[in-house]
């Protein structure tokens, strides 16, 4: 590591030679960004496919009375043929369900959305926006991608481990995870590798933002996206090591027979579990959530940043309350370290602690409201262009609104008694991560695609994709809130095993259909992505008439980024300045 630190700066701009060095082990932040982009989209697709199988199972969890194994429909025959043991007749074995569930959560968060929001867009855009030729440590950057890649492979390989993939949820609560089959060991090792990758990235982002800004680019002139990335990097830097510590202890519990999380006299199977005991299962939860709460803001902050950029550009006016926005991001960052136990109100921790965490949780919702208010008020007085990226950015606002608001009943311990571990929680956080973050990230791709590939994505296909994403998503996630309110627990392979769930089981059919439509709705997107590489409308340096620095270099930017040394003269969002010749005044344009 130290090595990479040292060397990196000095060799920032080795000219790429062969294909391998240019595209595979490249140290150019733009190539690395695109590597991250493609990989994380692939993982998103994998994660979504798993969920599609699960939603199929949840739509019809058990055979009907008149079920005839001889007359399987097309889908059931296919599933039966693909996984005769795991999905006999197309009905999912609970073990397989638990595996897919745990892997869906892990993949979506650690291999999908975070790498996409932080590593892909952060890598590509951040150096451009601050006017840097590259990251501070290009080699470390390359290593970060490849460690992420290896971590992803290890996690996926767990499907072929004896006993199959991890099946204790993405939260991996001990002691269940300690007694689980070998897949859990893969999960722990994979997580440690991914954490290492994130730490490389975080160090790089922090040093780059603090040290590598162009002349005139003061911190106060940085676009909101850069601020969001900076705060995110700090969260990753400080929160992830704690999970690393927790994962190390769990790994030792599994392989070295320690008992950090194993209580005294635990009985497993029919006998006393052969461990010294004395550990605490709740300790794991503290260590896990100490990471995982900041982690959810890691999912969110880059999305905030992207939405801010797109909104500023497409309302043609300065963002409302730049200082308040940046301040709120920082406050969110700080507070996110003191709310973790709101996931643990009912875990058996000291009950008096709950009041403390209710209070901090309510406090942290205030800066989120402030961010949303600023973004919303930014629309006022604008001249709004409804292009594809803008649609995605606009949709983010109410969708995150629903997600955030549903966080409130969860944040109050008394109401959480009813809602905890039900589909209400699933509904809450999917509204923030899927029609929230993920949709904002898609918008980011439409927005920066011209910079990355020199061509715009097709607008019509983009709009089709937009509506086919946002409408089905609501049909998927809103009923989850309803089911959860009724008390349907999460992580049930067969919810109808419990009669109290029957009155809301019907919704699952609707959700299943909507999820399938959502899947189909991604086809225009994938097609558009590849088609536009060659056939998209050619984009010049600054296709959206934006002010920020990433638009001051060629599309795509050459190695070393800027053809002329950028110098910054003003704040990031000088749109429609009275008296100025055009309605945008780029940061690097001399007065």
């Amino acid at each position: 590591m130290k090595d990479a630190h040292g060397h990196a700066g000095a060799h920032g701009h080795v000219e790429p030679q062969s294909f391998i060095w240019k595209y595979v082990f490249s140290v150019d932040h733009k190539v690395i960004g695109i590597q991250y982009l493609v990989t994380s989209f692939l993982f998103l697709l994998v994660g979504f496919s798993m969920m599609l199988l699960m939603r199929w199972q949840l739509a019809i969890p058990t055979p009907a009375d008149d079920f005839d194994p001889e007359k399987l429909g097309m889908i059931r025959s296919l599933l039966n043929w693909m996984w005769p043991e795991k999905m006999p007749y197309g009905f999912m074995d609970p073990e397989f369900y638990n595996q897919l569930g745990a892997m869906h959560g892990t993949i979506m968060i650690f291999l999908g959305v975070v790498p996409l929001g932080v590593a892909a867009f952060g890598n590509y855009v951040l150096p451009l926006q601050i006017g840097a030729p590259d990251m501070a440590f290009p080699r470390l950057n390359m290593m970060s991608y490849w460690t992420y890649f290896v971590g992803g492979i290890v996690l996926m390989a767990s499907f072929w481990a004896p006993g199959g993939a991890p099946q204790s949820g993405w939260t991996s609560y001990a002691p269940l995870s300690v007694v689980a089959p070998a897949g859990q060991t893969y999960w722990l090792i994979g997580m440690v590798i991914i954490i290492t990758s994130s730490l490389f990235g975080a160090i790089n982002f922090i040093v780059t933002t603090l040290n590598m800004r162009a002349k005139g680019m003061t911190l106060g002139r940085m676009p909101v996206f850069c601020w969001a990335q900076l705060v995110t990097a700090v969260l990753l830097l400080l929160a992830f090591p704690v999970l690393e510590a927790g994962a190390l202890l769990q790994l030792l519990d599994r392989v070295a027979h320690t008992s950090f999380y194993i209580p005294k006299d635990m009985i497993y199977g029919a006998t006393v579990f052969p461990r010294a005991g004395g550990g605490s299962p709740i300790l794991w939860q503290h260590l896990f959530w100490f990471l995982a709460h900041p982690e959810v803001y890691v999912l969110l902050l880059p999305a905030f940043g992207i939405v801010a950029e797109i909104i500023a550009t497409n309302t043609r006016k300065p963002l409302f309350g730049y200082k308040e926005l940046v301040g709120s991001l920082i406050v969110i960052g700080i507070l996110s370290f003191v709310v973790w136990a709101h996931h643990m109100f009912l875990s058996g921790m000291r009950t008096s602690l709950a009041n403390l965490f209710v209070t901090t949780t309510m406090t942290i919702s205030i800066p989120s409201v402030a961010v949303l208010t600023c973004l919303l008020l930014s629309l006022r007085g604008g001249s709004i262009r409804f292009n594809t990226p803008m649609l995605f950015a606009l949709a983010f606002l109410p969708m995150f609104g629903i997600g955030g608001l549903t966080g409130l009943p969860l944040g109050f311990a008394p109401t959480d008694m009813h809602l905890h571990d039900t589909y209400y929680v699933i509904g809450h956080f999917h509204y923030v991560v899927a029609p929230g973050s993920l949709v904002a990230l898609m918008g980011g791709l439409y927005y920066w695609y011209p910079k990355m590939f020199g061509r715009k994505m097709n607008e019509t296909l983009g709009k089709v994709h937009f509506w086919l994403t946002i409408i089905p998503m609501n049909f998927v996630f809103f009923p989850l809130l309803i089911q959860g309110m009724w008390g349907m627990q999460r992580r049930l392979a067969v919810p109808t095993d419990q009669w109290h769930n029957l009155p809301v089981q019907g919704w699952s059919m609707m959700i299943g259909i909507a999820a399938a439509v959502l899947f189909v709705g991604q086809i225009p997107f994938v097609f558009n992505f590849f088609w536009s590489l060659r056939n998209g409308e050619k984009a010049a340096e600054n296709p959206w008439n934006s002010t920020t620095l990433e638009w001051a270099c060629p599309s795509p930017p050459p190695h070393g980024n800027f053809t002329r040394e950028p110098e910054v003269f003003r704040g990031p969002y000088e749109y429609s300045v009275p008296g100025h010749k055009s309605d945008y005044w780029p940061q690097d344009e001399a007065a």
């Binding site: 130290k2 501070a136 790089n204 590598m212 090591p241 927790g246 010294a276 005991g277």
Partner: protein
């Protein structure tokens, strides 16, 4: 890294040094997480059987603390030497630092062996688990530090460092002091409390 590059950074701190500080911040959280886990269970678990102090070998550990602190001091002297451009003296002090680290590791190995014989093993009880995990991770860090020091020594002898440019010596030094500091925290909470 050239002097020109340092002057170019916005903060005036070189990338390498800022990177090292950031890295150490994450290391603090790593050890912080483990140490708080230990403290929580130490005070909260009824089954944390702490071996008597006599079994822990406090004198030996005290000696080790001393060795590590000394090596931190020699590291400071080495840095001072290279700042004056005295490669000979630099190499000597780095050599002492490496020596201090090696002594630490050898004594630690002996301690491990001894404790294991006495029945304090990784899985024997909760205290043992924490003892080996915390000190083991620290030992890994010391080992990594020694590799780093060797590299610094070789690079220094080859004339890579000058009074104007010796960032890596400073970074290595920061890291070494951190490793030392971790031990200074581990020693009392594992041996004396």
């Amino acid at each position: 890294m050239s002097t020109a590059a340092i002057a170019e950074t916005n903060t005036g701190i070189s990338n390498a040094k800022l990177g090292t500080w950031t890295f150490l911040a994450s290391e603090i959280m790593l050890f912080g997480g483990l140490i708080s886990a230990y403290v929580i269970l130490r005070s909260g678990s009824a089954h944390m059987v702490v071996p008597p102090r006599s079994m822990m070998g406090v004198p030996l550990a005290t000696f080790n603390t001393f060795a590590l602190i000394t090596s931190s001091v020699t590291m400071v002297l080495a840095l001072a030497a290279i700042q004056e451009g005295n490669v000979q003296r630099f190499a000597r002090w780095i050599g002492c630092t490496i020596g201090g680290g090696l002594i630490f590791l050898i004594v630690k190995a002996y301690e491990y062996h001894h404790k294991w014989e006495e029945g304090i093993t990784l899985s024997s009880n909760l205290f043992g688990s924490f003892y080996y995990t915390l000190t083991g991770l620290h030992v890994l860090h010391v080992t990594g530090g020694l590799v780093l020091m060797l590299y610094i020594l070789v690079a220094g002898l080859r004339g890579r460092f000058t009074p104007a440019s010796h960032d890596r010596v400073e970074s290595a030094g920061l890291y070494w002091h951190f490793v030392d500091l971790v031990w200074v925290i581990l020693f009392p909470i594992l041996y004396l409390l």
